[in-house]
Symmetry: C2
Subunit: 144 residues, 2 copies
DNA sequence: TTAGATGCAAATAGTTTGCATTTGT
DNA sequence: ACAAATGCAAACTATTTGCATCTAA
């Protein structure tokens, strides 16, 4: 059983069809989906699952730090990111919104320091870098 | 003139009343507001400014990495965070959604490495830690 | 002077809720 | 058995768009 399902159960939540399907779709999508894509794929996987349950599952997963919503384009349209092992890191081009994922793990010490300083029990973190990708930089240069 | 206004002008955008007001309200709010609060405060500051212009300004600021929307409670209701000097760091309690801000600056080197590796011109970053605060941990313990 | 930005109000997306029914434990 | 979770569809909220007007450069 996946680590996330284990966490769900340990926290006292039921392992329902809707929840396991949403989780599987998230994993199959590379851990990076908009809510619209997610709704569509979940519906394809099992047409009986309602939108509301997908949102309820995402809410729950967010509280358990299994997943994290983050802003994609504009202000609407969140992207849901899996936090396997509790963390995730990526770079977003603020012009074309392309996302590059990268591994990193230099935050362990900072994590421990913050837990001690603020009396928090950390469950994960998300690190986003913003910038302009090479392609967009060229376009901007051309326009100018 | 604020650094952000300078960036706006340098990128070739006009320094309009709506934009400067939105920016000032953001700064006066400690660089941490929901869109609802922002709309209200901007409207108080200058009743002639329309909602649309506030959203358009936020969009622009996001592209310029002056600001970053991040998820507060549930899936709706973004919080806009100023990225002074291009970055910001905080801890969110995933239960009560309280936010603790902290300073940090150990990401400079990683930033440079990523710029080189992915040919990106970085404009900033956001680091969020998730966890359960002491108060919420107590509540959960009581319930169980 | 004039391209770019604005304000308005209507249109659109996206998310949440209430409640009867089903399901995991 | 029974509390918890679901599915549905309607209600809501938040954001975006089109267009005539205004304004910073």
């Amino acid at each position: 059983m996946s680590n996330a399902l284990q966490r769900l159960r340990d926290a006292g939540y039921k392992l329902t069809g809707a929840r396991t399907t949403v989780l599987r779709v998230l994993e199959d999508s590379g851990g990076h989906v908009t809510s619209a894509e997610l709704l569509e794929r979940v519906s394809t996987a099992d047409a009986n699952i309602g939108r509301a349950s997908v949102f309820r599952a995402l809410d729950l997963f967010t509280r358990l730090a299994i997943v994290r919503p983050t802003y994609g384009e504009g202000s609407a349209a969140p992207i849901y990111v899996l936090l396997p092992g509790g963390h995730h890191h990526h770079i977003v081009c603020t012009v074309c919104h392309r996302v590059i994922e990268f591994d990193d793990c230099r935050l362990g010490e900072l994590n421990r320091e913050l837990e001690a300083r603020y009396q928090m029990q950390m469950t994960g973190h998300l690190l986003e870098f913003y910038g302009v990708c090479a392609a967009c930089a060229r376009n901007v240069a051309q326009e100018a």
